[in-house]
Symmetry: C2
Subunit: 333 residues, 2 copies
């Protein structure tokens, strides 16, 4: 069906090795042969077979990136950062979406391992250290994104989530709010838990401040809307006066939910999210948030991955960026 290097060789009247040399080490072959081979390639519409190439080489030129949620702009920005760095190195990034499912996460890890990718970038759903250790033993480096490696066995690129949670909550307290509600995100995810711990720390510093968590809320806009409805359904005196959401998607949903019931943000309830996605600034009430340098995180992660690939013995490195509080109207900014 498809032309192979053998067909090209035949047509150009040279050997297979020479064709390969034209493709990979042009300087080794006589100009005359180069043009004959190129002509043959054009005539036959020859396209290199990556599988054969890779089989021979033992490894591929792609990097796998597994994200928790493609719908979350934080992750797509991060992906673009990684892609950009990869470009510069002649690598390609293949994006896989685990959708916060352990199964899907495992499936994509298997897939990438079978494909012998150059390395794996992963924002893990739960503890994946054991699995990644296997992967690494088989020669594939991995870097965690959006979360530190518990035992520092792997390099990682993340943001100080605890600090982010602290900054967000302290801000809510500083504008006079006292009854804080935290919601969103699978609560058993490390990132989320860290943000919550930061919130607790901030609350502990202020006498009379309380922190409530509203569990059972996932990470999408819809989940946030449901949470907003739930809060609105309470008697006014039982409602919090501020809500801190695990991410901006949830916060945007909460905003919709509250607004639908005539609850004012920020007058009745102040609202802050996390990630500072582009849409946060464009929300009904522009949303305060905690900014993560998503693009930069992606770039950095890819760089670390490549470095580890070049020198597997090097020590793992934990890069932790500082989150930045962004105040907008949803907290009276």
């Amino acid at each position: 069906m498809t032309a192979s290097i053998r067909d090209v060789a035949e047509r150009a009247g040279v050997s297979v090795g020479t064709v390969s040399n034209v493709l990979n080490h042009r300087e080794r072959v006589a100009p005359e042969s180069v043009s004959r081979v190129n002509a043959a390639i054009a005539e036959l519409g020859y396209v290199r077979n990556d599988a054969a190439r890779q089989l021979r080489a033992g490894r591929s030129a792609t990097v796998g990136l597994i994200v928790l949620d493609v719908r979350n702009p934080f992750f797509t920005e991060l992906a673009r950062g990684a892609e950009r760095e990869a470009d510069a190195r002649g690598l390609s990034v293949l994006l896989a979406n685990s959708d916060e499912s352990v199964d899907r996460e495992a499936r994509y890890l298997d897939l990438f391992e079978q494909q012998r990718v150059r390395g794996i970038l992963i924002s893990p759903y739960q503890e994946v250290g054991d699995r990644l250790r296997q992967v690494r033993e088989r020669g594939i480096p991995a870097v965690l994104v959006d979360r530190q490696s518990e035992d520092h066995l792997f390099s990682s690129v993340s943001v100080d989530d605890e600090l982010g949670g602290y900054l967000a909550t302290r801000h809510l307290l500083e504008i006079g709010r006292r009854r804080i509600l935290f919601t969103g995100g699978p609560i058993d995810m490390r990132q989320i838990d860290d943000r919550l711990r930061g919130a607790r720390r901030a609350v502990a510093e202020v006498a009379g401040a309380t922190l409530e968590t509203l569990p059972g809320v996932a990470s999408q806009v819809d989940d946030g809307r449901a949470a907003g409805d739930a809060v609105a359904a309470r008697a006014a005196e039982d409602r919090p006066d501020a809500i801190f959401c695990a991410n901006d998607l949830v916060a945007l949903g909460v905003l919709q939910g509250l607004s639908a019931h005539g609850i004012s943000v920020p007058d009745d309830i102040a609202l802050i999210g996390f990630d500072d996605i582009d849409f946060a600034a464009a929300a009904v009430v522009p949303l305060s948030s905690v900014r993560q340098p998503s693009r930069l995180m992606g770039e950095t992660a890819l760089r670390l991955l490549v470095e580890e690939g070049d020198d597997p013995a090097r020590a793992s490195e934990q890069v932790v960026f500082e989150p930045e509080l962004v105040v907008r109207a949803s907290t009276g900014g």
Copy 2:
């Protein structure tokens, strides 16, 4: 470094062929051997080499999806639709982002072709018919998404953009607006041009209505904001009384730009977007839009692709969904 099927065979005391049979045709091999082989696999941490597998098989089990913009939720929803359908068939979807660059689009097409993917789903930037024809000649089916195939040589899944443009604009006229401005998206993209044509048709039906286009505006939130600023900078009597944006991202940007200058939406200027992404409903002023069934489009595209792969001779099929007008506050809904 990594264990091969040969190592497994040796360890289990069987031949290579038997190991392969355990992996692919379990019923052909004696239970006793199966367990010995499985034990060996576990002990050695054997992982199939996909490159070798694919080289032998001649084709891979992945489908490539090239989108114009990963940051646009319309495309990520579409991707999830495709992914979901692929899952059910044991295929994987690899997502590539052309970022509205002809170069990047070409590079990913090359990459997928070299990888001998099972098929390609593409939302093309410009005319790619010639290139896709080549691809198909070499045995890889392709389906267009978000746009019809000009000459109907390829199957496609799209929305009636002309109708969408018409619906949006007619709605603006029905609420009494007469000076319509169209903006956003590379104007040389077919999808955008169709929407504009629809707008023209609607305007032509109403005496005294005018349609202006504001060129040089791309497809991101930032571009929209700049457009909003530009409109705000005009003398009040030169401003349009309604703006139709090529997509919701741009519309959200325009909304920010106008609001920043104290121009009221919809009182001063009504605003409508396209795609109806989740964030549209959550905007400062909830955004009217034209809904595309993104998820369904992705599912359908993947289905068509697989069908064409199974029977390359079948006629191409143009699936065109009807867009749906969604009225919200930004047009006084």
